[in-house]
Amino acid sequence: MFRTEQIEQNEGSKLSVEVLHRIQFALTISFHFIFPPLSLGVGMILVIFGIKSVRTKDPKWRQLSMFWVKIYGLIFAMGIATGIVQEFEFGTNWSQYSRFVGNIFGSLLAAEGIFAFMLEGGFLGLMLFGGTRLGNRMWLFATTMVVVGATFSATWIVMANSWMQTPQGFEIKDVGQGPQAFMTSFHDVVFTPSFLPRVLHVIAACWMVGSSLVLSVGAFYILKKRHVELAKTMVRVALPVFTVVALLQVAVFGANQATEVAKNQPAKLAAMEGLYQSESCAPMYLLGWTDANAQTTNGIHIPCLLSFLTDKSFDATVTGLEATPRDEWPAVNLVFQVYHLMINLGMLFILIGLVACGFWIWKRKIWNQRWLLWILVSSVVLTELATETGWWTAEFSRQPWIVWQVLKTTDAYSPNVSFSQVMFSIVMFVLLYIVVFVVFIRLLDRHIKEGPPPPVDPDETSSLPDSFGEIFRRRSRVSSGGD
């Protein structure tokens, strides 16, 4: 995609199959990545509702939980359906990659399956069907287990991806099946230098997305003057989470990442900031455009901030793209733009959060600020966009490597899959995902418009089994027959 040198004819067709494989992976993972952050984040809010239910016995918390758990189920189903695609695609579209990294990457995916998916899949039924079967404490337990599972899942998958960004703990050998990466230390594979900063950043992003969906629905009800008391409760729970995480995301997790990337993947940071020449007192851009021919970047910038972020000193030297061979550069402007979109959205979230909190603290005036409520309604689209652009930044800026400085993407795809086969599957996924997404949005919309279920009588809730002992002593339900 980025090579402009003369390409031989057969090389040309080979390249385009590679591009198709990349397009398919990018499309399917971007679509998949809409859902897991939503379910992890909404799950976390459900845990808060669950704790409140147990502590206060106020039936409104149970009512909110049962409203949101339905939404959770819908999102989760979309996550499963699109997630299996990702696991299969390593084998179907990236067989050379799978052979090369199976020893390492495969084991992290399998561990995700055993520790994370099984936990989520096992307890999900209890969580979704617990409303009429479980008391507050046991429902909270099931929900917590699902959220712990989702967090494990995020952890293992970011761990696997971090190994692709900053690989270590392996050696390359050919034992007769072509070169393969063999694990020398599981500890090093798990704790690569980028892992911890990245996993914190991703989990915080999930909380942002989840809390913004709750904010969005709450603000919508307030604007439409429906279920106003419950809606205010949603906002009261979600807004502090949103604001605090937005601040942490930029000030702690994001800043950490800049330091980490500068240290481990300088070419990546240089592409993100459009820094062609190594500089001391390197600027950080707010907006800009990179010019590949002139090797310059123009735009609005803050002088020396990049140097400060990477090395806590305004005249630290930041390595530019010039240190990397030209054919190992990613698509600089693309990386620059998606990265800056993410950063700017992150700043915007802080602003939205602080303004909304301000109006709330100031005599609860937030409930009358229609413009602000409308911004909150739209916040979930913005947080989704920020997570997507964050993921794109990570993946685009790693190119042309699939495993950073170890394996190139062009050596990773399945050589035995033809152009027309990939074309077919891309068309299939596009059509399928459009249909599924439209139905998903319509059902979500309908569910939100229908509103929360009527409150549950606390006596009824307290008659449900609420400890392990009660659950397992409970007799199989007597059949009532018919309808």
Partner: protein, 339 residues
């Protein structure tokens, strides 16, 4: 190396776990239109698998992950070689997931009927596609020396593999029907019990024919059983399990019948594994290109780490899977949480 064989056995256990658990909910999907067209009863059938189907599907994800980690070369060759078939598997998996989730969200008859048919057809699709894929794995594929193959969709549809696909349909319909006896009552139960003898006879005939066909056409498969005579216990015990399932159904011991059916599936998967071992993916071009438990596995370090992970993780998985099934035991009743 014992670790490689251990992982092969673990892999067969995971796949059997998938076929047993997702198998009954696929069976419920395939059977639904043959049992009832009434909306209330359809919802009973759907909700019989409601709290557990996504947990069951996770076993497929686990199977994919375990194959990737323990036998990466098989994973890479098989998945890329069966490219279009795998894409169709993904298509029907997604359609099925959304059909279950979307179906009861709206009351209109056309809406429910649309997703009911999607549910049924995609359940058939998954069963047939995976059955046909297994048939081709047993038959062997045109692997070259780099472990690459490219089988067109039409080549996959050879008579032997289609036969295996049909056996899979009969087996999972039977398994699903037996599962439903625990979950239904009244007229619905009666109509399911009427189906069971027919399914049982169909499955018995198809399976016996397939076993004979396999032994006749596949010398290596037969030779493996001759070399390891004790492995013949797998198919023999499978036949005993079917008989036991039938007796339990007649006595009304539905849970025992289900366990017998599950045991039968595990034994049949075990029998296939015994006929294949140590080959995992056979090359029809040259037996030197076969991918075996030895030459296609991950290295010792990875297998060891994975084994420790499995030892830690699997007891928990089995514990809470059993707990969830116990919690949702008994006949299905519809309530506000139901699909």
């Amino acid at each position: 190396m014992w670790l490689q064989t251990t992982w092969f056995v673990l892999y067969v256990i995971i796949i059997s776990g998938y076929v047993i658990l997702d198998g009954f909910d696929l069976g419920v999907g395939m059977l639904s239109p043959f049992i009832t067209h009434n909306d209330h009863d359809r919802r009973i059938l759907l909700n019989s698998i409601g709290p557990v189907w996504d947990g069951n599907e996770v076993w497929l994800v686990l199977g994919g992950g375990a194959l990737f980690a323990a036998f990466p070369l098989v994973y890479a060759s098989l998945f890329s070689g069966f490219y279009l078939a795998m894409m169709l598997v993904l298509l029907v998996l997604i359609m099925r997931t959304v059909a279950i989730e979307f179906r009861s969200k709206r009351p209109e008859a056309w809406w429910r009927s649309l997703w009911d048919w999607t549910f049924t057809l995609s359940s058939f699709g998954i069963t047939i596609l995976l059955g046909v894929a297994l048939g081709n794995v047993i038959r062997g594929v045109s692997l070259d020396q780099h472990g690459n193959l490219n089988v067109s969709l039409l080549d996959l549809l050879n008579p032997y593999s289609i036969a295996l696909g049909l056996v899979a349909v009969a087996m999972l319909c039977l398994h699903g029907a037996i599962f439903l006896t625990q979950k239904t009552e009244g007229e619905l139960l009666t109509s399911i019990k009427r189906l069971i003898p027919k399914l049982l006879i169909a499955f018995f005939i198809l399976m016996t024919a397939l076993i004979i066909w396999t032994l006749l056409r596949d010398e290596q498969f037969t030779q493996n059983f001759k070399d390891r005579p004790w492995t013949a216990f797998f198919p023999l015990l499978a036949f005993i399990s079917i008989a036991a399932a039938w007796l339990f159904i007649r006595r009304g011991a539905y849970l025992s019948a289900f366990l017998a059916s599950a045991t039968m599936i595990a034994l049949l998967m075990g029998a296939i594994a015994c006929g294949m071992y140590p080959v995992m993916l056979r090359s029809t071009t040259n037996s030197a290109y076969d991918l075996t438990v030895q030459n296609a596995s991950a290295a010792k370090e990875t297998l060891t780490v994975m084994f420790v992970i499995a030892l830690i993780g699997m007891p928990f998985v089995l514990l809470y899977t059993a707990g969830v099934y116990y919690f949702f035991r008994g006949k299905v009743e519809l309530d506000d949480d139901s699909y």
